[in-house]
């Protein structure tokens, strides 16, 4: 099964093709095919994981050449190691949950089959991205993932905001991809291969200069910045929430946005080759994480809070990986690599759960605004419980899975005091805004009576996946318990196994931080001991910055979009006045000139054109005459051609005489035919 792991992406691809071409009209069948193929991929991934555990994470590479050229070798292949096996599990589990959940959520949607086929195409792309063994393939799937994301964000394209969000996501990530492809070109020119292992071998042998390595690393990281919504390209992700909520859960929370983190983890050797590149990565991660966390504090749209939370958590992972690169460049092995990948896995589960839970709420009350919710725990038992589990997990409460991975992230900042302080601050904010959301949504008095009355628990197809994911949100982190010597950390190791062991001081500190965050939220939004409005008034400036998302969209609008539009206006003015003026002047001159030429045209050119026309007519008539349908003539032509070639090879003068003779004979026979035109019609004739 392990050797055939390359087949895993093909299950959803088959489903996509079958749905698009054959079962589009049968909605139930389409969904059935999609779900069963995803489950097959999941089962296959389980086998791969088991096999990899048996090999203790020893990697396997299979590839076949695609293009071979002395300067560049491209191949199609797969690289399976511990990280790949884990990612296969994450993608297939979340995808399967989302597929099943969508049965309930997308109920009665007119484009149901298309929705499932897109989901399958996305899963195919994501699995291909994970399994690739070279940067060339990862780029192909990277773009495919971007395309399906665009299709799904704009799935309800009748809504202008949805189609705008799709465009925004596509264009913004494309800016990052431009950097990515520049990075790949650098690798192509200076390394000559895009295979991971060959590139890494070159990097480690020191064959590439430091500056080049930093440039390649930072450019490739641009791709991750776009896809993982890192500052300054994070603006698309909150808007992407216009897509169906299951899509947000699958693509914009659990898998695709994690692709950037995966890329950084996968190319760790490359990035770690340059301390500069690694520091850039870590800083971007930290800035993003902090900024997104502050924004999430004040948002009122349930999905946007989660979206900013996602951005913040992704920044966490990127920061951990970047710090690992910095430490590695200085010769230390620290916890960052394991922390980043570990959090990538646990986050996928609890964030998917949060989104699906939010979807369940939206399904019940038909709004995204938490101001119209409240008290829903009385109506929606399963949703409430699972949502609280996920929130506790993301806040980092012992012993849920988020606790262990967040603990690792905090541990990875050891040696970088500034990073550590900000990281803990982010952890506090995370706990606060998550429980703000929980309390406002599920507890207290309903703020919109009418919506509350119509609210109901979601169907089994939706609560089922919630339960599965809640289970994972609790237990998935246990594979990386610090007391385990052969746990997650040795399975996905990079270079040298780093095993930190438990750090009780950090555990206690981060627990205190998380609990105090929750406590503050409890005081403000549950007990209402502290007024939220008073707080907002007190810190008016900070509140405004946070609520308006640091004005990033406005800044982009003012700095890039407005000037661009202004520039087009200038160009328009230039066009309308200068160019058109010139054009009109030219036009006047041309008219005068044309008068002059008309005479020439009328008598000289027309004469030539008509002459050519007559020649062509005569020529086509000659061809028609040749393809006359007359058998004897065909045989004659064979003979004449043979004699012609013969003469041409033996004596060229004879050939020219022969040619002239043929033309004369042809003309004569045409004349004869014209004078006896009555006979021509009588002959059997096939049009030529």
């Amino acid at each position: 099964m392990l050797e055939h792991a390359y087949f895993i992406p093909f299950y959803p691809l088959i489903a996509f093709l079958v749905i698009i071409f054959f079962t589009r009209w049968k909605e139930k069948l389409s969904a059935g095919i999609a779900i069963s193929m995803i489950l097959l991929a999941f089962v296959h991934s389980v086998f791969v994981l088991i096999a990899m555990l048996g090999r203790h994470g020893h990697p396997l590479e299979l590839s076949m050449p695609f293009i071979e050229h002395p300067a560049l070798k491209l191949e199609l292949g797969m690289w399976i190691d511990g990280l790949t096996a884990v990612m296969l599990m994450v993608v297939t589990i979340v995808s399967a949950c989302v597929h099943i959940y969508s049965l309930g959520y997308m109920h009665n949607d007119p484009r149901w089959s298309r929705y499932f086929s897109y989901l399958c195409l996305f899963t195919f792309s994501m699995l291909g991205l994970v399994i690739a063994n070279n940067f060339f393939m990862i780029f192909i799937f990277w773009e495919l993932v971007g395309l399906t994301s665009y299709l799904l964000i704009g799935f309800w394209f009748e809504k202008k905001s949805a189609s705008d969000a799709g465009k925004k996501a596509f264009i913004t990530t494309r800016i990052g991809d431009l950097g990515f492809i520049v990075g790949l070109l650098i690798l192509t020119f200076y390394v000559g291969t895009l295979n991971y292992q060959e590139v890494f071998a070159k990097v480690q042998s020191g064959a590439i200069s430091g500056g080049l390595l930093a440039a390649a690393g930072i450019f490739i990281f641009c791709g991750a910045v776009g896809k993982s919504a890192q500052f300054p390209l994070h603006v698309w992700l909150p808007d992407a929430m216009e897509g169906p909520t299951p899509v947000s859960a699958l693509i914009h929370a659990a898998t695709m946005v994690a692709a950037g983190v995966y890329l950084v983890a996968r190319g760790m050797t490359l990035f770690a080759g340059s301390a500069t590149a690694s520091m850039v990565i870590a800083s971007i991660g930290l800035i993003t994480s902090f900024m997104a966390a502050t924004i999430a504090l004040t948002q009122n749209d349930i999905k946007r809070v989660l979206a900013y939370s996602t951005v913040s958590q992704l920044g966490y992972m990127i920061m951990a990986l970047g710090l690992y690169g910095v430490d590695l460049a200085h010769g230390h092995h620290t916890a960052g690599y394991v922390a980043g990948t570990f959090h990538l896995m646990t986050h996928a589960f609890f964030k998917a759960l949060l989104f699906l839970g939010a979807g369940s709420v939206i399904h019940a009350v038909h709004t995204n605004d938490i101001n119209f919710m409240g008290g829903l725990s009385r109506k929606m038992k399963t949703t409430t419980i699972t949502f609280f589990i996920a929130s506790l997990s993301i806040a980092g409460i012992f012993p849920l899975s988020g606790f262990w991975s967040k603990d690792e992230i905090v541990a990875s900042t050891t040696g970088h005091p500034f990073f550590m302080v900000v990281t803990l601050l982010i952890a506090f904010m995370t706990a606060f805004y998550m429980f703000r959301l929980c309390f406002l949504t599920f507890t207290g008095e309903p703020r919109d009576k009418e919506r509350f009355d119509h609210a109901h628990e979601s169907p089994k197809t939706m609560t089922g996946p919630l339960t599965v994911l809640a289970f994972l949100a609790i237990f998935a982190g246990w594979v990386g318990l610090p007391w385990l010597h052969h746990g997650f950390s040795s399975f996905v190791y990079h270079d040298v196994v780093h095993h930190a062991g438990p750090n009780y001081v950090l555990m206690i500190v981060s627990t205190i931080v998380a609990v105090s965050g929750i406590g503050l939220a409890y005081a403000v939004y549950y007990k209402k001991a502290i007024s939220a409005d008073a707080l907002a008034d007190r810190f008016k400036l900070l509140y405004k910055i946070s609520f308006n998302k640091w004005y990033i969209d406005e800044i982009y609008d003012a700095v890039i979009i407005k000037p661009l539009l202004g520039f087009t206006k200038v160009l328009w003015w230039f066009d309308a006045n200068i160019i058109d003026g010139l054009v009109n002047l030219m036009g006047w001159l041309t008219v005068k000139w044309a008068d002059l030429k008309m005479w020439f045209d009328k008598y000289i050119i027309d004469g030539i054109v008509n002459g050519l026309g007559y020649i062509c007519m005569a020529g086509s008539w000659a061809v028609k005459f040749m393809q006359s349908g007359s058998l004897q003539f065909y045989a004659l032509m064979v003979m004449a051609a043979a004699i012609g070639i013969m003469l041409y090879r033996v004596t060229s003068i004879g050939f020219y005489f022969y040619l002239i003779g043929l033309v004369i004979v042809a003309l004569l026979s045409v004349l004869v035919k014209m004078t006896r035109s009555d006979r021509v019609d009588a002959e059997p004739n096939i049009e030529g």
Partner: protein
């Protein structure tokens, strides 16, 4: 005691016997089971393919019959084209030729046996016999619609011009025999070299022989200016037979050309050997084929006539590979033929099914086909793109190989001409796609091909796409065929 080594002609023997079985079982079933006879024929061809895999390699009948890689490669093409022709014939055997189904299928098989013999013969007499065995059943097949004036006329024309060309070919072969006192191609090669070394030149008799043979084989290939029969015959003959003529029969001509010229007269293909250089003759004919075929195809309104001129042009591209006359040349010509098999048989299969179900062969009737039968139209689009040489279809890889071979051999002008005419050809191929997808639809009939026709279309599409993206294995196979000539 001569060693006949019958083992290696088992596929031919089997196919021959199977043809008789097909005819007899049609008679035995009182001509009542059209489907069964068709499936029986297809099964026979498939089994022959399997036999070919097991019994290949070696020589027999005193070197007259060789089962080398070249032979096997082309036999695959012959069997493929026969298979696809039979698969697309189910419609007409149901409707139009109720009384002679057995004979129809039997004759296709007989002709295929002839092609297989032809590709295996390394000696002039058996080569000529193979050619005749191929052609004579085709005369009959072309005239198979006995009540259709066009079809009967096609058969008769094909027969008379064919017999005429055959006589010319035979004359050329006999001259060659007179010059070299042998009919074995390898011995002939040596004797010619000796003759040349002894006298420093070879007289006009040799040129005459060369030109006669080119004319004779040029007829089979429908090479300009020996092509004049082709449009009339292609239009009149039953469409599957037209397809078979345009692929199987042409591949047979190509293998004869390769055996005689590239193998036997190879040493005369260079500028130094003027006026014995046959390369330039074929190059000029190829350029004429590319120009005339493509330009004449532009204005055709009948799909079969359009495909006829298209196939005249296509053979011009194959000739670029033949002219190169080196390892890459032979490889590319073989590969081109292989891709052409899928694309052209597929296109004709579409034309057949469409003609059967709508009764029209006019290009304009294809309007709106993409709405009424989207898959069917998509298949046709794939074939057209491949014939035009658009990546990632196989036709692109094939054209690329052929042109690369031409450049390498120094025929730059021919390649430039080929590229220009390929641009021209895009117009009429794309015109079909335009008609199917963008012209206001009048076709409301939903085309529903029979199962074997679906199989043929699927085979064509898969072949064109798969071998376009992964040409490796076939190219390797084709390269081995070049090894037969010692390249």
């Amino acid at each position: 005691m001569p060693d006949y080594n019958l083992r290696i002609i088992i596929p031919e023997i089997f196919l021959f016997c199977w043809a008789i079985v097909v005819i007899l079982s049609d008679l035995g079933s009182k001509r009542k089971s059209p489907q069964t006879i068709g499936y029986l024929t297809m099964a026979g061809i498939a089994v022959t393919g399997v036999l070919l895999y097991f019994f290949r390699g070696g020589i027999s009948f005193n070197n007259m019959f060789q089962s080398d890689t070249l032979a096997v490669f082309f036999k695959v093409i012959f069997l493929g084209s026969a298979f696809m022709a039979v698969g697309s014939s189910f419609g007409i055997t149901n409707e139009r030729i109720k009384n002679h189904r057995g004979e129809y299928y039997g004759l296709i098989l007989f002709s295929t046996v002839g092609m297989m013999f032809l590709s295996s013969s390394s000696e002039l007499i058996s080569l000529y016999i193979g050619l005749e065995l191929t052609t004579i059943p085709l005369f009959v097949l072309a005239a198979f619609y006995k009540d259709d004036k066009l079809s009967v006329e096609a058969g008769l024309k094909y027969f008379v011009v064919g017999a005429f060309s055959s006589a010319i070919l035979l004359y050329g072969l006999s001259l060659l025999y007179g010059l070299t006192a042998t009919t074995d191609i390898l011995t002939m090669k040596i004797n010619l070299a000796l003759l040349f070394l002894k006298f420093g030149k070879i007289g006009p008799g040799f040129i005459l022989a060369m030109v006669m043979i080119i004319a004779g084989i040029g007829f089979k290939l429908a090479l300009v200016p020996f092509h004049m029969w082709a449009p009339d015959v292609y239009q009149g003959a039953p469409t599957p037979i037209t397809a078979f003529l345009s692929v199987g029969s042409k591949a047979a001509g190509l293998v004869a050309l390769l055996r005689i010229f590239v193998n036997g007269l190879w040493s005369f293909a260079s500028d130094v050997m003027q006026p014995l250089d046959w390369g330039i003759i074929i190059a000029v004919l190829a350029s004429a084929a590319m120009i005339l075929g493509n330009i004449a195809a532009l204005r055709q309104t009948n799909i079969k006539r359009m495909l006829a001129f298209s196939s005249i042009a296509q053979i011009g591209y194959v000739m670029v590979g033949v002219v190169a006359a080196d390892e890459m040349g032979v490889t590319s010509a073989g590969f081109y033929m292989f891709i052409y098999l899928f694309a052209n048989m597929g296109a004709f299969a579409v034309a057949t099914v469409f003609g059967d179900q709508t009764g029209s062969d006019n290009i304009i009737s294809y309007a709106g086909l993409s709405q009424s039968s989207p898959l069917f139209a998509a298949g046709m689009a794939v074939f057209m793109l491949s014939l035009a040489g658009i990546p990632p279809m196989g036709g692109f890889a094939a054209k690329y190989m052929v042109f690369a071979a031409g450049i390498q051999a120094g025929y730059t002008w021919l390649v430039i001409l080929g590229l220009l005419t390929a641009v021209v050809s895009l117009y009429y191929y794309a015109n079909i796609i335009k008609t199917m997808y963008f012209a206001p639809g009048e076709s409301t009939i939903r085309i529903n091909p029979s199962f074997p026709a679906k199989l043929v279309l699927l085979l064509g599409v898969v072949g064109v796409i798969i071998f376009g993206i992964f040409p490796g294995p076939v190219l390797e196979f084709a390269r081995e065929t070049a090894g037969v000539f010692g390249f």
